[in-house]
Structure formats: structure tokens, C-alpha cells
Symmetry: none
Subunit: 290 residues, 2 copies
DNA sequence: GTCATTCTGTATAGATAATTACAGACCTGC
DNA sequence: GCAGGTCTGTAATTATCTATACAGAATGAC
């Protein structure tokens, strides 16, 4: 019997396009915790993937197995082979790529950045920032520069869905002085500023500060000059094997913050979100769950 | 629920003396190829150990399990814990924050997402995508939807600095049909599309495809319908403990891709970058650091 | 919009597995 | 060798799982 050259996991991926919606959902559930998730009963697996058992049978057939038990047996054989040779330490992330491939080098650097950034972060500051942003009485302004524009946009978009009173400012445009007029003491200004730090951003921060605005700053490990007048400052590692800096860690932090603010304001903005959901449901691309 | 301090394997060995002849035979068979041998049916296991099925039940009861299925479930849990990546199980990332703090939970999920995404990625596709983007003869169009706008902007901005012939398209706006006119066979269209997938994005992809444009797609684990007409598709895990999805892994991939394209086009675009630097310095938007 | 096609879940029948009951086998000590 | 006990397997029962049939829902073509 010729050994299967592909693992079932790989086969699931390669034939992913040939699968239907429910089957993909199932395939993902299997890959999620591969291969253990496939070793229970068909009932368990189906329930975990939130599909019906026949769907499991159908997909397994598509993969070429006569039935679920055979599929499972194949999984066990695979696992057996994998376990006998000691599990190699995971220094490569993209297993299919050669050791020095950029995918592995880059990812390793990013993981390292996450590690170092999180080790240094002050949870009290983080919680304080979330509390400020969750306070409906404070208007929130979000500002980014040239490179950080995408980050501030991303932050703004989510926050704007979560709560009312959120405004986006482009620090480079000469329209931001107008926004300053709207700021009141106690309002919050979220600033993104990575090297090379922009003068207009610093100016904005200083002026806002004078009006009693609370400033939350996301910056890099060398810290933007804005940090001098920021109430809360979060600095992230951004160095990667690239000509450019990485925004991954900053994005991780801001997504985490959004998750927390969302949670804290859930009661007050539930309706807001649900209205939004309804609009999305119209697209009918996604299955509804109860 | 108190965690079991001993593994089932250890328990088998420590209570080996309390077992009967047939049970020892069975215990040995289980340990022979641990733990996979215990994951089949009770019948298979009994046959393999050359004992009867009731013997299996009796021994399992001696170990303290109510029945064979529970024993097997415990084996699976054990296995699961064993094969999950040690890096992903680094529970506390922000050491100063309490265990269940959102910073730790969120980061853990993201690391897990990175791990799973990279494990599934096809390096050949990745390299092929980089080659397409590094080819100066091909014009590149970058398109994003509502949520993915920030990502496509970020990608566009970097690519635009690296090379000439890069255009940004907003899939929602009704201006994109004009961009279609500019597309020629062999050009490249980079599309970002996460759930919930947008109809206008799909339409754009189809029309571009008809014109012989190469399509590179960044999507989520469930894959946008665009994947059907994409030449290269990169799907990332995006689920985190939040009401929203995470873009971190997608950003990681696109940054890596930018790093590689930059490297490949370095000779040709060195001047471009230097000219850019000079412009920025002249406008004095940025403070100079040494 | 309407129709054909494909997909997906419910219900159910069929298969298999897990457990129990029980009787014979095997020790052990006299 | 035989009585008391334990151990073990066979066979029957029960529970659970797997596969199928079919109908309703979703999708895609016109």
C-alpha cells in the first residue's frame, strides 16, 4: 500500500475550494484543533462544527473515504506516525516553507515583538484607556499621520460602530485646527504616531492638551515626542526584517482595546450594534446562528 | 473541576500491580503505542490486546472512569494538550496583568491564529504573489471593502512607495468601474475581503478576471466567494475573543509580502525611495532624528 | 421574479459499539 | 482433589453512533 503523500489536513486545505459552505465550516473545525477534534464521534464533531452529521459524512466521502470510521482510522494512523518521531520544536512557523524563508523570519520577529511589548505594558494604563473610551460623556477624536493613517482609520471605524461621538482627524490636513474648536475639557484624543514623528501631530497634541483633552498615544518603542503630553502611552516594538516597520503589534493592542470597550459599553450600545447587524444580514452571505 | 495531575499513562503504570493478568496485558497494549492505540473502538482495542471487551471495561473502571467513552475522552484531552504548540500555550503574555485579563486572552488567540494560518499557507503561492507584485511591467490595483479598507490602504501606501504603477480602488464607491477600463491583461488586482463579503467586491473581481487580470486575494478562514476567481488566495484566521474579527494576521502577511517585494525590487526603486525621502525632508513634515 | 439545481438539516433505519449477566475457567489453600 | 474465591470470556442487551432518505431552504440562471 502506497503511503498517502498528503496528510488529511493538507487534503482538507487543497480541496477546500471544492467544498460547500457547511463543509468548509466543518473543515475549519477539524483544522482548528487538528487532528484531535476528528477523533471523537461523528456526532460530537458535527455538533462542534455546528453542522449536521450527514454533512460530515458527505465531506468525508468527498475526501475519498468510504465512511466516517475509515476517515477516523486514517487520522489515527497519521497521528501515530507523527507521535512516534518526537515532535520537533516549533521554530518554523510556515512548515512548508524552507527555514530561512521570509515568512518564517518575519513571523518570528513579530512574535518576538508581541512578546516584548506585552511584557512591558502596564495593564492599569490599558484599563484606564478603556474606561476613558467607554465613557459616553466624552467625545473621542482619533488622529493618525502618514503611515499610521490606516491604523487610526481602523480604530476609528470600529469605535464609531461601538459608540456615538467619535471623530476622525487627519493630522496632515490643514482642516484639523477646526476639530480643535470642538474639543472640550475631558474629551479624549487618540493619537497614532510612529517614527518618523510628524510635527503636525505634535502640534495637535499640544494644543489639545491645553484645552484639557485627555490624550491616549499609540507609538513605537522609541516613543513619539507626543508622549510628553500624553496621559496614557502605549509603545510597541515595530522592528522586523524589512525596509519598513511593522504595525502588527499596534494593531493587536488596538483590537484588544476595542474588544474591551465594546464589552464595557455593550448595554448602552446593543441596539446600535443590532441595527448594524440587520443591515449586514441583508447581504445573506453568512449563515444565521441562533 | 480539579485537573488530573497524572496522565493516564502514568496512572496505568502506577496501578499496574493492582491489575489482573488480562488487564496487564491490556495495559501493555495501550502503553505500547500510547495514546493512539486507545483511541479506536473498545472492540479494536480488546482484539489488539487479545483480551475481551469486558476486560477493557473493568480495567477502565479500576482507573476511575465510569465507562470506556469517558476514558477515551480523557485520552483525547491529554493528547490535545500535548500536541498544541507550546508557544501558543504561553498563557500569560502581559505578565503584569491578571491571568484572565483581556490582554492575555486576546493575545493568546492572535498567536494561535498566526500559528494556524502560517501552518496552512502555501509558500509557493506566496512567492508567486511576490513575483507578480515585483514585476514592473504589471500595473497593480489594490481594492478593499468596508472593514478591509484600512488594510488595503496600508498595503497600497507601502507598495506605492516601492514601485510605480499602483492604484487604489474603493470597492464600495461607484467609481471603480472606471478603474476597470485601465486594467490590461497581465495586470494584478489585490483584493481584501473578509466576512461579511461584499457583493461589489465580488463583481469587481469577476469583471477584472474577464479582462485577464491576475487576482491576489487576502481573505478569512471561510474564504470570500472571490476565491473562486482568484489566482492566488491567502486565508487567515481572524477569530478572537471580541465582538469583532481580528486583522492582525492579515496585516502580518501583507507586511511580509511588502518586505519581500521591496527586497526584490530594491535596485530598481532605490532612487524612488531616496527621492521620496528628500521630498519629505523638504516639506519638513517630519522631524529629523539622527 | 420564476424555475432548476444544489445544498443542508431532520428523522429514521441500520450498524456498531459499550455494557451487563452469567457461566465456566483458573487459581489457591487446604 | 475439592471448596472458595477470583478472574475471564461468551452471549445478550442496551446505548450510541453512522448512514440514508427525503423534504425544505438556499442559490444560481434566465
Amino acid at each position: 500500500m502506497p503511503e498517502p503523500v498528503e496528510t488529511i489536513g493538507e487534503r482538507l486545505q487543497s480541496s477546500f475550494d471544492a467544498l460547500t459552505r457547511a463543509e468548509r465550516q466543518l473543515a475549519n473545525a477539524i483544522l482548528e484543533n487538528y487532528p484531535v477534534s476528528g477523533l471523537g464521534s461523528i456526532t460530537t464533531l458535527a455538533a462542534h462544527a455546528k453542522v449536521s452529521t450527514p454533512t460530515v459524512v458527505r465531506m468525508v466521502r468527498k475526501l475519498g473515504f468510504p465512511g466516517f470510521p475509515q476517515f477516523q482510522a486514517a487520522l489515527r494512523r497519521e497521528l501515530e506516525a507523527k507521535i512516534t518521531n518526537p515532535i520537533a520544536k516549533h521554530d518554523t512557523w510556515a512548515e512548508n516553507a524552507p527555514d530561512g524563508h521570509i515568512l518564517n523570519r518575519f513571523t518570528e520577529a513579530v512574535i518576538d515583538n508581541i512578546h516584548q511589548t506585552l511584557a512591558q505594558i502596564d495593564p492599569q494604563s490599558f484599563d484606564a484607556a478603556c474606561a476613558l473610551l467607554a465613557d459616553p460623556k466624552r467625545t473621542v477624536f482619533v488622529a493618525g499621520g502618514r503611515i499610521t493613517r490606516a491604523l487610526s482609520d481602523y480604530f476609528y471605524m470600529h469605535l464609531q460602530m461601538i459608540r456615538r461621538g467619535v471623530t476622525s482627524i487627519e493630522s496632515r490636513s490643514n482642516s484639523w485646527p477646526h476639530s480643535l474648536l470642538d474639543m472640550e475639557a475631558g474629551d479624549v484624543l487618540v493619537i497614532f504616531d510612529n517614527r518618523r514623528y510628524e510635527n503636525s501631530t505634535i502640534k495637535l497634541a499640544e494644543l489639545a492638551r491645553e484645552q484639557g483633552v485627555k490624550i491616549i498615544l499609540f507609538t513605537d518603542q522609541w516613543r513619539s515626542p507626543v508622549s510628553r503630553c500624553a496621559d496614557l502611552c502605549f509603545s510597541s516594538r515595530i522592528v522586523v526584517p524589512s525596509a519598513w516597520d511593522s504595525s502588527v503589534v499596534i494593531m493587536l493592542l488596538l483590537e484588544t482595546m476595542i474588544a474591551e470597550v465594546q464589552k464595557q459599553t455593550w448595554d448602552g450600545t446593543r441596539e446600535r450594534i443590532e441595527a448594524l447587524e440587520e443591515v449586514f444580514d441583508r447581504t445573506r452571505f453568512f449563515r444565521k446562528f441562533n
